[in-house]
Amino acid sequence: MAWFVLRRLALVVLTVILSSILVFGATHVLPGDVATMVLGREATQQARDNLRKELGLDRPLVVQYGSWLSDFAKGDWGTSTSTGEDVRTVTLQRLRNSGMLALVAFLMYVPLGIFLGAVAAWRRNSAVDQVISVVSLAFIGLPEFVTAVFLILLFWSTLHWLPPSSDIAPGTSFAGAFRSLILPGLSVALTSLAYVIRMTRAGTIETLDTDYVRTAYLKGLSTPRVLFAHVLRNSLLPTVTVVAAGVGWLMGGLIITESVFGYPGLGRLVLFAVQRRDIPLIQATTMLIVVIFAVANLAADLIYGLLNPRIRLR
């Protein structure tokens, strides 16, 4: 297991370093000169050269990359060129918000998805299975913004239960933000639910057909005992990987949902940074998302290893 963990960790580090090169490279081939953007078109060549020197932009790219990476690792993520705020403060603030939203969505769709998937597999080809499959497929097919708008229409316009906008103030506590988190969380959960259901259903059907489940039944075990002790642990292996890897997307990829609800998460910050060509902000947010994805995938591998002795004890 130690070998397994170390190898995975090394892969995470490698992923992050390669991504940092891509992020740095991409932000440097973006059209537009930083000095011109900061000083304006009327600035003299001399002033621009001075600023470049001041910012270290006249150095070779490799040296620039090295100092950028070491600053980043030390926690100095620079200052936003569009708002003048400290990039680190803003980004971490948004990361916290994204974490709250991810948690709410996660708690909504993972247990429900596993439950419905297992039920669908258990009652395979029955009416229950058909309904679960069709409804969940419909939600996969619906674009996120359609689901979101539909939820707003239902819970705000018609029922007046929940606020349509989730634009919480910076630093709002989880309890304070909770009402604002329900609708965006639900919208994300509905889209992801189908994936979890389908993975669980497929895995469970496969497991139900194995010899060892037959062995378990023929030992005279009760159905719940067979399901919980012998079926689920094995059938959830593929689901665990999908779900854990999906955490990365929940934290950094919800650009559309966050935009529709006006929720100040990491995804919307990326969008903002790109629209403003705010290089330090782009670099910080994308690097953060890379790290989240890498760690989420590492977690998926480790959980998989924990559940699967064939990998753990190899």
């Binding site: 037959r214 062995t215 075990l221 064939r310």
Partner: protein, 642 residues
């Protein structure tokens, strides 16, 4: 006494897309307590369906439409699911074919066995574990304390099957159903499991239903036998009666198909008349020793290692697992070199080195005087054509989306440059060569039986007009009756086409029918090799001796002779024992000399080589069977010749 299992006029139907299919028709079967009934038939004869119906565990679509199955007087076919559940485990238990699939892969074995005690017998945690350990002792499980903490993938098939037996017997069921319990195991492991069953039988009064396609196995463990053909039981008799006077023609056919090990059987044709069967540039190879380098196929000092070991190896070298350890062998043109050993002995790796699927770390493969590059990718096209392979699992070795004609036609067009028409005609000829109707050209592998697919695989290999056919356990996954026919086919094809075979199997009886020369491998190294007739009769290497005595004898009278068994399970290839690598399991273990020193190669007549500390004469004396007329014959090689 009332029977433990009483199946009366049972008919089972499967609903299929093409209408109902009768899998079992009007089958009746009775087993008294303490008795063992063999249920014998080919795949598809309905044996397993009958057993599952008796268990009340038919798969979806299966339905009992007539008859009943009484266990201790209770009819399983009329019980509710809850009622059947009360019977399962306590009244009736099952041991299934593939032990590796029969256990939950993510739960330690101890907990899986405890479940029976905890959930069925309502024992406390501690009592359940004590019962588990006691049962494991009963099935002669070495290191029971260690086994309970291990996961299924950490145990060999034989050990797992012992666990399965312990689990099935834990609640002392009235009926124990064994569905091909040894078919997936090595012959040596099968022998030890059969010994165990025989012993358990005498200790308990459960009724056993033993399902198998191999009549040889039945002779050892069963009291009575039922023979099943196309869903019907066609004959039922005591074992002795059945083997002596089979009353149904089908039973006689099954009996004839059991591979019999007979060292006095005539050697396969082809040996010695090499010039006639394959005119070529090679000088004719006589039976006597030849100068090195003159053989058609020559493997010299082959070594193949794989990285092995567990955990991190930051500062130490990762241990190397030697799958093939300095192996040298040869075969003459148009003859068969048989390669025998248990799983893990390195047979398959050796085959892969010959075919060029793996690069040897050391040593050479020569064919027809030419040194072959290690990997197939760097071999010349004619060489690729000349070496073909037939794999173990027929279902997986043909593309399911290609018709038989396409599968055979492809190498014809690719390697021989035939056009579509010529390829079609040649494919038809090849089908005839493997005794299949030419109408099969348009069929898909899914429509054929396992034996037929293997025939197609042979035809496909022949299409390249090879000179060497490497066959890796080509008959092991097939029914015994099909095996016999295929072995005959291999024999005829060799004569017709002048092919050399490298024929790999764990079953000495199968190897014997084909081989001119035989090599026995254990843990990557050769133990014995030489002319087939020499290897197959004493003096044997002790390992060969164990392989020979593991072959199930289809003769109830011969079963109770003294038999020789290997100690323990196969060793770990990553941790080869010191001295003689076979010493940990050797039935003729001498002592420190075996532990500390590598044995010498002892040479006998006819290019016969044995890797053992015991001199050949002593081996012969130990192994010579007391034959009634020649009981006092001196133990010498000459005496054996007569």
């Amino acid at each position: 006494m009332s029977p433990a299992l009483d199946i009366r006029h049972l008919t089972v139907v499967y609903r299929t897309e093409r209408g109902p299919l009768e899998a079992v028709r009007d089958a009746s079967l009775r087993i008294e307590p303490g008795q063992t009934m063999g249920l014998v038939g080919e795949s598809g004869s309905g044996k397993t369906t009958l057993a599952l119906a008796a268990l009340g565990y038919l798969p979806a679509g299966g339905q009992v439409i007539a008859g009943e199955a009484l266990i201790g007087g209770v009819d399983m076919t009329s019980l509710s699911r809850a009622g059947r559940r009360r019977m399962w485990g306590s009244q009736v238990a099952l041991v299934s074919q593939n032990p590796q699939n029969a256990f939950n892969p993510s739960m330690p074995l101890g907990r899986q066995l405890d479940e029976v005690g905890r959930r069925r017998l309502r024992l406390s945690r501690g009592d359940a574990r004590r019962t588990t350990l006691a049962m494991l002792e009963k099935v002669a499980m070495p290191d029971a304390q260690g086994v309970v903490t291990r996961y299924p993938h950490q145990l060999s098939g034989g050990m797992l099957q012992r666990c399965a037996l312990a689990m099935a017997l834990m609640a002392d069921p009235r009926v124990l159903i064994l569905d091909e319990p040894t078919t997936a195991l090595d012959v040596t492991t099968q022998a030890t499991i059969l010994d165990l069953l025989e012993q358990l039988k005498s200790e308990m009064d459960s009724a056993l239903l033993y399902i198998t396609h191999n009549l040889g196995v039945v002779a050892q463990v069963c009291d009575r036998v039922s023979v099943m053909l196309r869903g019907e039981i066609v004959e039922e008799a005591s074992v002795d009666r059945l083997f002596a006077h089979p009353s149904h023609a089908y039973t006689a056919k099954l009996l004839a198909a059991v591979p019999r090990f007979d060292p006095d059987a005539p050697p396969p044709p082809g040996q010695g008349d090499e010039g006639a069967s394959a005119p070529g540039a090679q000088p004719p190879a006589g039976a006597g020793p030849q100068p090195a380098g003159a053989h058609f196929l020559e493997l010299r000092d082959l070594v193949k290692q794989f990285p092995g070991g567990e955990g991190l190896h930051l500062f130490r070298r990762r241990p190397q697992l030697r799958a093939v350890d300095h192996v040298s062998l040869w075969a003459a043109r148009g003859t068969t070199l048989g390669l025998v050993g248990e799983s893990g002995s390195g047979k398959t790796t050796l085959a892969q080195l010959v075919v060029g699927l793996k690069q040897p770390d050391m040593g050479e493969v020569d064919m027809a005087g030419e040194r072959l590059p290690g990997l197939a990718g760097s071999r010349r096209r004619p060489i690729l054509r000349q070496i073909q392979m037939v794999f173990q699992n027929p279902d997986a070795s043909l593309n399911p989306r290609h018709t038989v004609g396409q599968a055979i036609g492809r190498p014809l067009r690719l390697l021989q440059g035939m056009d579509r028409g010529a390829a079609h005609a040649e494919a038809a000829r090849l089908l005839e060569a493997v005794r299949l109707p030419t109408g099969y050209l348009d069929r898909y592998p899914g429509e054929l039986s396992g034996g037929e697919i293997q025939r197609v695989a042979i035809a496909r290999a022949l299409a390249a007009r090879p000179q060497l056919l490497v066959c890796d356990e080509p008959v092991s996954s097939l029914d015994v009756s099909v095996q016999g026919a295929l072995l005959d086919l291999f024999k005829r094809v060799q004569l017709d086409e002048g092919l050399a075979y490298l024929f790999i199997s764990h079953d000495l009886a199968a190897v014997q029918t084909l081989s001119h020369r035989i090599a026995v491998m254990y843990l990557g190294a050769l133990m014995e090799y030489g002319e087939a007739a020499r290897v197959l009769r004493p003096p044997y290497h002790p390992y060969t001796e164990a392989l020979v005595s593991a072959i199930p004898t289809p003769d109830p009278a011969a079963v109770h002779e003294a038999v020789l068994r290997l100690r323990g399970g196969p060793s770990n290839p990553a941790d080869v024992p010191s001295g003689c690598r076979f010493h940990t399991r050797c039935p003729r273990f001498l002592g420190d000399i075996c532990r500390q020193q590598e044995p010498p190669w002892r040479e006998g007549d006819g290019d016969h080589h044995v890797y053992c500390h015991i001199p050949l004469e002593e081996l012969l004396a130990l192994q010579k069977r007391p034959e009634p007329p020649a009981a006092g014959a001196p133990p010498s090689a000459e005496a054996q010749e007569v």
